[in-house]
């Protein structure tokens, strides 16, 4: 089980801020493929990965990152702080 959290328009497009998912995905990219296959709203949210950023356990990483031992994966658009 892994917590998946969404922010900004990713959250809006998927329609929820957080969900707990049962997955055997080995990497973030594998998890994205699983999510895309669930429902059109996921496919829409993950249509263009270059428009997305990912953090595993609150650390920015990339879509090749392994999920072994991870507790939380976050998907969001490029950050606009400052």
């Amino acid at each position: 089980m892994i917590d998946v959290v969404y922010f900004a328009w990713v959250r809006e497009r998927i329609g929820l801020p957080k969900e707990r998912i049962k997955t055997d995905a080995g990497t973030v990219a594998d998890l994205v493929d699983e999510l895309r296959n669930r429902e059109p709203r996921y496919a829409a949210a993950f249509a263009d990965l270059t428009a997305l950023r990912v953090a595993v356990d609150q650390e920015l990483t990339d879509f090749d990152a392994p999920l072994a031992g991870a507790r939380e994966v976050a998907f969001f658009p490029p950050m606009t702080g400052g």
């Binding site: 900004a8 969001f76 658009p77 400052g82």
Partner: protein
């Protein structure tokens, strides 16, 4: 080294005064303050969303990186979230260093990294609707100079 992530407004004058108070070991203080701009497109408010579990540690990491690159007497980062109206202060950074070059460079470094690496997202709400602010390619490019 202080990081504060908060919904409440901050008092820029009081923050700068407190940051500067009693320092005789450093010669230069630089501050940056970001303000919600009203560019005449009917902005009613800006909503800032963030990733609570990540925000504080991510900013502390950026601050520690600045401290490792420059000789800093101190640094302060305050970043707000939630709804803000035009003219409100969004965030500030302050750096204190022996000389001006380090204070300026560290402040610019912190700003460049906060722009693209701190987990905040801005949405603008106008009379016509609402839209997420897109990251600018310039902001990502700015990181390459450090």
């Amino acid at each position: 080294m202080t990081v504060r992530v908060q919904e409440a407004p901050f008092d820029i004058g009081a923050e700068v005064a407190a940051f500067a108070r009693g320092r005789s070991d450093i010669g230069a203080i630089v501050t940056f303050t970001g303000i919600v701009r009203d560019v005449g497109d009917g902005l009613q408010h800006m909503l800032i969303e963030h990733y609570p579990a990540m925000t504080q540690p991510a900013i502390e990491k950026i601050e520690a990186e600045a401290a490792s690159r420059w000789s800093l007497g101190d640094s302060l980062i305050i970043h707000r979230f939630g709804p803000l109206t035009p003219g409100e202060q969004i965030m500030m950074v302050a750096t204190a260093a022996p000389h001006r070059a380090a204070a300026f460079q560290a402040a610019e470094f912190l700003m460049d990294y906060l722009k693209s690496r701190a987990p905040f997202w801005k949405k603008e709400v106008t009379g016509d609707g609402e839209a997420w602010v897109a990251a600018k390619p310039d902001d990502e490019d700015a990181l390459s100079r450090w």
